[in-house]
Subunit: 191 residues, 2 copies
Amino acid sequence: MQELEERILADGVVRAGNVLKVGSFLNHQLDIRLLEDCGRAWAQAFADDNVNKILTIEASGIALAACASKFFDYAPVVFAKKSMTKNLDGACWQAWAHSYTHNTDNAVLVEKAFLGPGDTVLILDDFLARGEALKALIKIVHESGATLAGAGVAIEKNFQGGGDALRAEGIKLVSLAQIVSLENNQVSFVR
Amino acid sequence: MQELEERILADGVVRAGNVLKVGSFLNHQLDIRLLEDCGRAWAQAFADDNVNKILTIEASGIALAACASKFFDYAPVVFAKKSMTKNLDGACWQAWAHSYTHNTDNAVLVEKAFLGPGDTVLILDDFLARGEALKALIKIVHESGATLAGAGVAIEKNFQGGGDALRAEGIKLVSLAQIVSLENNQVSFVR
């Protein structure tokens, strides 16, 4: 998606350790017009997949999923939680995901009432690197008996391999910006 | 807001300890049409307040803020974070908020680059009970030199006092559903 690539080049900041900071528009401060355009792009890519539910994970995926919903006929959004709170009931689908950003193992929790055999699910998230979060969400979709339509991410760091592993499993993955390298503080996209 | 009150009566579940579960439509599974209607209601209430930035806090406020933005001419949304991550720079506005839901004291962090004297800020969140999160966000707005337009919440638990404390300070607060009691597992709204 050209608009997203241009924004990354204009406002993204590369930090040591293959960190790409996009906090000025994607995951701390949010440009809602851009997020809506991401949603529109996923809706085109998944137009024939009968998506009736969008699944994401707190916190950075929530805004993207909320902005995408209207392009899927206002499909309900479910965001997985990373810890058990008083607001969750006991009956949850659960998986584990390692976060390289926070260097922790996070539980990924979805109440069973909100995901089941009647759902055809599109998973959305801001970043795909090693794919830990997506793999946990996919596991939950399968365990719930729902159908997986595929996954959409805004930014894939292709050089970290998570996306290719998912594609090798036959999962439909739509990444709106694909980064092949962050070396020398330069963002290089897949061409 | 009648639509929200009706939804709370239809799908909200009261739990011990004055907990109102609205996870089926507001803070776990999200009804984006309803969230957009909340955004529209706040836009009417704050139409004369020159809002040019929306501030919320992860995780449950993000979807409401994202859905409200377009009714404020796509004002940027900033969501405060509750922990320092690799994705945050060192230079942050910081306050502390006690979470009664999680029984923890949370840091509330916003990068200084995204909030400052040029901003007129509307704070949005899903719930207002004792007001800990809103007070922390208000403190950050003041420290940044931004102007506070006011705060909007979807559900105020009026019997827990946080909203009245804010009103007593002269803060413009727009709560779309105001709950006076959850006694006997019954939701009673302010009339």
